[in-house]
Each structure stands twice: as structure tokens, then as C-alpha cells.
Point group: D2
Chain length 310, copies 4
Amino acid sequence: MFHKFEPDHYYTNIGTYPPVLHIASGDIVETRTVDARGGDCERTMVAGRPNPQTGPFYVEGAEPGDTLAVTFEKIEPSRTYGFTRPWLAPNVLDPEAVGGIPDETGILEWEIDPVARTATAVLPEECPALVVRINPMLGCFGVAPAGGQAISCATSGPFGGNMDFNGFVEGVTVYLPVAEPGALFFLGDGHAAQGDGEIVGTGIEISMNVRFRLDLHKGWAINWPRAIDTDRIMTVGNARPLGQALQHATTEMLRWLTGELALPAAFAHALLGQCVRYHIGNVYDPAYTVVCCVSKRDLPDAAVGCLPMA
Amino acid sequence: MFHKFEPDHYYTNIGTYPPVLHIASGDIVETRTVDARGGDCERTMVAGRPNPQTGPFYVEGAEPGDTLAVTFEKIEPSRTYGFTRPWLAPNVLDPEAVGGIPDETGILEWEIDPVARTATAVLPEECPALVVRINPMLGCFGVAPAGGQAISCATSGPFGGNMDFNGFVEGVTVYLPVAEPGALFFLGDGHAAQGDGEIVGTGIEISMNVRFRLDLHKGWAINWPRAIDTDRIMTVGNARPLGQALQHATTEMLRWLTGELALPAAFAHALLGQCVRYHIGNVYDPAYTVVCCVSKRDLPDAAVGCLPMA
Amino acid sequence: MFHKFEPDHYYTNIGTYPPVLHIASGDIVETRTVDARGGDCERTMVAGRPNPQTGPFYVEGAEPGDTLAVTFEKIEPSRTYGFTRPWLAPNVLDPEAVGGIPDETGILEWEIDPVARTATAVLPEECPALVVRINPMLGCFGVAPAGGQAISCATSGPFGGNMDFNGFVEGVTVYLPVAEPGALFFLGDGHAAQGDGEIVGTGIEISMNVRFRLDLHKGWAINWPRAIDTDRIMTVGNARPLGQALQHATTEMLRWLTGELALPAAFAHALLGQCVRYHIGNVYDPAYTVVCCVSKRDLPDAAVGCLPMA
Amino acid sequence: MFHKFEPDHYYTNIGTYPPVLHIASGDIVETRTVDARGGDCERTMVAGRPNPQTGPFYVEGAEPGDTLAVTFEKIEPSRTYGFTRPWLAPNVLDPEAVGGIPDETGILEWEIDPVARTATAVLPEECPALVVRINPMLGCFGVAPAGGQAISCATSGPFGGNMDFNGFVEGVTVYLPVAEPGALFFLGDGHAAQGDGEIVGTGIEISMNVRFRLDLHKGWAINWPRAIDTDRIMTVGNARPLGQALQHATTEMLRWLTGELALPAAFAHALLGQCVRYHIGNVYDPAYTVVCCVSKRDLPDAAVGCLPMA
């Protein structure tokens, strides 16, 4: 079933809040998200900070111990104005170098060209042109965390949240561990583009039109977000420090390979050792994000055949 | 000038040791390296652990404050037998999951096919075939560190060392900060292939035939290793924890962009924020390695024109 | 005014929940807390995990930007049975050593002697006697965090929470930053004793009788918990990794010295450099806790005179 | 046998350098150390940075696998002038707060009163008096590291080095793992006093007169430095990040308790959980230092009886 949902309120925590829509597994939702500071497609401020979320969407039948698959069918900027923080965050530089960062606040504006699919920074005159290809993604989405917690959209955890990974784009399916009845799916914080690590503290923040499908996997329990795109399978660890995020992601990938994909331990360890790829989602938020990737090409056909279709 | 150098002894520290050869800037050297445990191309053990190095090569005129450019013209396995550690290192998994790693030592053997350019793991029968494309690289190379130190080839620092980055392959030029007269360049620890992070504690360890060129950049001082390949410029941070390695790499890239490449600070920060890519060299050695990359396509032409040719 | 409050429900998150009692600044409350797993003074399980909290107590007039002072007048075990986890947590040992920890769960029981003020472990026969002096403390207490969040009592933050610091004992006054109207003070997780770092994952968990006073400091905004006892002033940082917890605590102490205590920067830096003492609250919970201490003896009299009385 | 040794050269690395004196186990040496920048008792600069060391002293019969016990019988400032860095190091503050540290270099001078046993800071006029009790200690000492390495006196490792722990004072015995023939003991970097963590980057740096005894324990192998003073036994971890230093120290203490002291594992874990104390040596040097302490009072008499006398 297809739902078109027009949000009229937003949450800046991810938690057990009243659902805005009840849907069934397999349903598709088309909706809007506002930017990280609450600006909508007309730049009207309609919500507060940080990273106000559209939702939550209640999936009938979802219970703790299930997994919710989110397939992003479309993630498209709904305006041409984006913004970033202009300076590197202090925590990504050597402590001795922090004093050299300009002590100005303010934002840097970007102009999106939806046809050329580029974003151009509005920089001071003395600067060369800075034009980057857009790569629309969602920085923050997730399901209600366990135990009735309500967690700020500034951060992330096993439930997803503010992961700020530039691989969460159109076409990817992300798997989230259901911790509360109905799963309660939230989404927001669109970025027209973002470098690895989100090291200025933002991507190119923008409102989005998003179409996504939710599929419920009953009785499939995972510990951390997982994802599949055309080429690879991925697991996500969210924590500080960076090394702990990597531990979570690696442990979850090992579980996937030796668990659901039924690969012998000796094979799984050898494969990871020589074929794993890591990506850094963010090194800015309270919890950092590391993504552990294995190419489908490196997996035996039988294992690829075990992967969920969505 | 071209030198063919046949090593007859090796060092397991990088330090101010007597040079094996004096060469001039621009000279090319063809030589051999042994594997991480000291095995040569015939699997004869000719050196000790860890990561015995060929060299050091003394570059005439090199002094502290200069930079040494190392261009790897050839990195080619000199035998068909490789080996890896078979199990993930405890530090890359959640502490609670470490107990589940098999408590066996030993090695996993790999057979290299130099024509197909693949490596095949010799796994127990119950395992599917594991065949990976080779990507020959050097795990450990560097110049003598400052102050007469002698640092184990198990680890790395501003001088290079055991960085275990799978992007240090044929065709790349790596820049190293000269800290002692003659620079004293060492190399070894070849890997036929290696996953990100070297998370089993090894790549596919193998002896290599290596041809490299050394170019001296007088009066150009850098703080951390840098590199250039066909597509991108790179800076390297070596430290624990992982976040500190990332800080070193990012700080060094910012210095490069706003220093030698003369880009305005506002441009450099904005570029890094939306275009930076990070790679994890290793998360196994005493010092971890993070590589900060910027695509040449994202740099203004004038900046690309400022890059050294070698 | 004095309130005797008998709890009949408990929260395992700290958040904006309906208050159990409204009190005025300066009021004193006598109440009970259950142990970390929900056991009361008769070992009846009356609440769930983790660290169920008594409260919240609403302080009339408290608003964001104020500070709530909590003075623990009494923290007294309300039974003689305590328990701990029996084995060191995997994360406090070298990853290579984790495999050697016994793979058993279960608990270790302790018998409290309220007259001798000791706790005796019920260990296997082959063990020597293990008798420790009790030092009753509260592991987890705090005020509602900002923005309507509800944070698990497993962890901690600027609002307090599961700090597990063995210096939070009878006689200490702790200052907490008010983030929601009424402050909403929670308390629980009593420990009859606890080593530094809570490295087995528990103190000697026990139910408590607690008497505390709440004093509201209008318009005094702090960033992290602070505390004063007979001898010293303290600031608390809660975060992972351990070094970040130390950064938060040190930064907050510098603010206190150069802010409220009006000490010149040169003096404050020199004092901290040569006189600071650090204590490790916990290295087990999702957020670790470091406490930064300055002895009152090392402060100028004028500064001591500026300290709040409660 | 007693040796009075007058140094005439110093090393700024700890490594396998020619010994200045050969001594026997049980011998006592009286000597001098210069300050961290090479200034002697008359403030004449006689050595370079960092932390120039007196020694090395070769202990007859010492071989890898032995342990060297160093008992500091006297550590006494040899002049009245001390100095510190004046400002907190950037890495001990929140990254966002670093910009607020004064951007001045220079040093802060201190005047030692050897009778009152105090040090008084020479602060700007607007500052209150800052007088601290002296607690003379050695920041940097150790034995040659393994494998012929030469490690800068800026940092530390299993061999000791720049641990900057304010508990290494007169009366303590420190145990160091011998890695090279003769052990090769170095010492230097005296501090008249130092706060926990050495958070300004120095203690009160001063030259010292030191008398120490070296005792060789043949065939006793340890992994990290250990120490015993009047009240407690201690193990030392040197690493970054801080949590890893704590892991090393805790693992070494567990080895001591369940190894040499023959305590049952269940007892050792329970004891550590409820009785351990941690101290932070330094959070400034490339390797941080954490000390894990157990009070002798908490050990069974039989275990105390097993402790070495020196």
C-alpha cells in the first residue's frame, strides 16, 4: 500500500512517541523531511533543533526481536538552498592546532543545481569556485530505542539515529533492530552531500522529499544496523571512541557472516582479514559511526543467495 | 642512476643504522624485501621478526627539514607462497565477543597465482573457496626517526614505519619527513593483498621485488607522511587511538591545502567538510593508521599545478 | 520541611516523568532506594533493571539554567545482603587477556555487618577471607536531562546518572545542572562499597535508606556535575573514552576556578598543574566517569569563602 | 657496595647505550640528575631535551627475563629553582575550550624552600600566593627496551620511561622487566612536585641528588613496571589512550595476584572489583600512564609474605 504523508510536527528525540501513521509491512511511504535546524522546503522554520524527525511510523506487528528493513526508494532535495558549518570541528584536529581555527560562527550557504546535480558554495570572493556533486542522503533515521528511552537526534546507537553516513542514499536497504512495539520509524536530517566523517559538523543540510518502503522481518534479531546496497553488505557501529564503533561494526559483521550466512568461522575470519572495507560515517556527533563493508563479489554465491531481498 | 641492490642483512627497528648504499636524489633502486617473519623468495628464513627491513639507503644531501619522495615503480611478489594470521585480532571485536575467537595460533597459507593475479586461501575442507585479487603493497617503510631513536618495525610514527595501508602500491609517491642526515630509507613487509585495518594482524605476507625512486625535496618540511597517486592526495596519521590518527592526518591535510597549495582557509575547510575521504590503514599495530584523502578532481587546477611531480 | 517518602514505583530511565513529590528548596527527604536489579530491603523484586530510581522529586521554582544542590545526609544499607558481579569486565583487561576470564555468569554474595561496618564475600572454600570496609554510596542519581530525553540508568551525562563514583557518600553535596522545570531529581543504585572504576561492573549492590536535602541555586548555570565535601571541590566528567571524561571534568574545574571563584587564569592553571587529583568513577558503564579534585587547602581563603554552603 | 657516580654525559633516549658503570645486584648508587631541559644544580645547561638521563648502569648478570628492582633511597632537589609550563595542555581540555588557553609560551618559575619543603610560584602580581608542598619524584627512569630499540625520553613503555607518576618518590621500590643484558638502568626528570596527570606538561622541573639501590631478581619475568611502597602494591600501564593504559595496569595486577601471590582467581577478581584504586600518572606524554593499586591491608597475610623485600 502507498501512503503519502504530510508531516505537521517533528521530534528532536527518537523515542516512544505517538505514531503519525500505522502502516503494514511492505507499505511504501512518500513524505517530507525538514533540514537539521527545522527549515522546510520554503526555508520556513517549522521545527526545533537538532535534526527534527518526520514520524514515527508504526509498523503493524513489529515487536522487540524483529528487524525492520527500510528501503530508500527516493531521497531528493526539496529546495535549492543548503548550508554547512564553515569550519572544521575542533575534535578532528590535533589539540595543538585547534587554536588556529577561525573563531567565527555563522554558516556557509550552498546553491543546489538539481539538473546538473551539483552544489556550489557561496564562498568569499578570494576563494576559487567550490562545486561538489550532490549525493543526497539521510543523516539521521532510526527506530525507537529499547526500554522507553528517548535519545537526542544529535547522537546514535543500536537503534540508528544520527549516523551521518554518506552511503545511506537512494537504493540502499537499512536493517534496524526493533525494540518497541510497532518499531516506530523516524527519519530526517537530509544532506545534499557530505564528506566522510562529517568533519565540519554538517553535511550540506537541506530539506528532502523521501519515498521509502518498510518491510518487517519477524523473528530476525540483529544487534546493530545493517545495510545492503547493489555491491556490498554493511554493518554499522555507533559509539565513542572511533575504535569502539569499529569494534561494534566488525563484531556485527562477523555475526552476520557466521550466523545468517552460515559461513564457517575459518572462512569468515580469513575473508574479513583480507577483504573488509571500512567507512567512517561521522567523527563529530556524541557517538561516532563506523561502517564495515564486505563486497558481494567476495561472498560465496550461496551466501549471497541467503541475503534478504529487502 | 640505477642501482641493483642485493640485501644481506635486515633491521627490525627503523633507526640511525649504517647505510647499505649511498645514492643521489633521482636515483632508482631495484631490490628485494623479505616477508614479515624474515622469509625470502625461497622461504629461507634470513632475518628475524618483526617486519625486517631492507636498507637503509642514504640519500646524499638529505638533512633534517627536507622531505624525501619515494616513488614505488614496482612492487611484485617474488614467490607464490603467502601467509596470514587466521583469526581476527581481539582488539577489533567487542570485548564481550573476544572469548568466542578460536584460541589457536598457527598461520593460514595462501597460494599466489601471478598470472591470474589472485591469492587463494588454503582453508579447511568445509570452507568455500576464498580467492582474492592481489594488490601488492608495502606494509612498512620509512626514514630514520628524529633524535637517534630506533623504533620497532611493529609500529609507526611521523617517520613512516608499519603503517599497513593498502593504498601504498605500485605507482604511488610517498613523502616522508627527513629527520637524520641522509634520510636513511628502509622498506619491507610486503603484502600480496590486505583488507582495511589489517584486522587479522597481517596482510598476505610475502617477499617482494621492489623498484623505487628517491627524490629529495630540499627545504620542504612536512610533519606526517603524505602521498600522491593518480587520483588523489593523501596525508597519513599514525597514533593510538584511532581518533588521534585521524586528527594527525586531517591536520596535515589542512596544512597542505592552506600551506603549499595556498588555498584560502575558508575554501580548504569547506572542501574538506564535504569532499574528504578517510581510509583506515591498520587498527592492529601499536600505532593505528588513518589516511586522509582529497581527490585531485576536487582541487582547483592551480592547486593541482602546485603538486610535486614526484 | 521534612518529607518521608515511601516509593511505590521506580524508573529505569532518567527523564521527564511525573513527579512523586513536590518539594521546596531547602527541604529534606527521607526515602528508600532498591538495589541495581530492583530488590528492596527484604530482597523482594519490586522493579526492573537497570538501576531503578526512586523519584523524581520536583523542586518548586527550578528552571533550566539553575543548579540543584543535593546534600546526602544519610546513605545507609537497609539490609545485610549485597551482591557483586564476580569477574572483571572484559573491557578493563588487555584484549589478549580477555579469553582467560572464567566464562560463568552468576553473582557473588556479600554479607554486611552493620556494626563492624564490613562486607564479607561468600567465596568458594579455597579462597582466603575477603572482608572490606563498607563505604555506602549512591551509584546513580541525577536530574532530568535536557530536551525531554529519557536516558537509561545504565549510563550518565551532564545531568548525572550512573556515575558510580565511590566519593558520592554521606556528607557530600553534589551540584547538578537543571535542564527541565522542577529539576526532577532521581536516586538509586546504592553500593555498600565499590572499588575505583567499578571494574567488575558492580559495587556491592544493596538497598538503602537515604536522607537528602535539595537546595536550589537560581541563575547559577553549570555544565557538568560538581561536588564539595569536607576537604575538596570536585567536578565530574561523564563520557567515553576515559580521556574525554577527564577533559570534561578538567574543563569544568577550570571554569569554576576562573569563573565563580574569580581566580586569575595564571593562578588557576598553575594550581591545577601541580595540585590536581583525579579519581576514576567507573570504566564500565557506556559513559565512563572521571572526577577532578582540588583540595580546599590549596585554594586561597577568599576562594573558599566563595564556595556555596550547600 | 656503594658507588658515587658523577655524570658527564646524558641520553635523551632510553636504549642500548654504553654503560657508565657496572654494578652488582644489591649495590647502591648515589648520583645526580639534571632537569627536563638539561639544567644542572647550578642551572648550567649540560644536556639536551627531552628529559636527559643519567646512566645507563649495567647490572652484572641481568638478562632478558629477569626483573630489576630499583629502590629510591633518596630523591632530593639539588637546587632551589624549579620551573613548570604555565598553561594546561590542549589535550586535557574539551576541544571546544582549547581556543581559550592563552597563546603564550614561556615558563613559570618556582622557588623551593628546602627547610619548609614548599615550592612557591612566581606568578603575576594580581595572583594570590601559590605555595605547594614538595613531593620530590622522578618522572622518567627505566631500563633498555627490547630488541635494541632506542625510545625517546618523551614517552614510556613496558620498560618504564617517562611515566610521570607522582607516587614514584623516596622509599618506593619499582620493578622493571629486563630486556637487554645488564638491564641498563637510566634515571632523570626530577619533579619537586607534580599534580596528577602532569596536565600542564611538566611537574616542577628540577635537578636532583638521588641515591638508589638495584636488586636483580633472576628468572622473575614481569610484563609491565610494578612497585611496592609502605602501604600498597602497584602495577603500571603506559599507553594511549588512557583506557588502554588502565587495561595494561589491571591485567598486570591480575597476573601478580593470581601468579606470584597465588591467590585464587575468584578471590583476586572480587578483591580488585571492590578494593582497587587507580592513579593517573600522566595524560600528557605520547603514552599516558595509569597505576593500579591494591592496599597491603586488603591482601591476605600469606600474600603479603610472598612480596619481595626489595
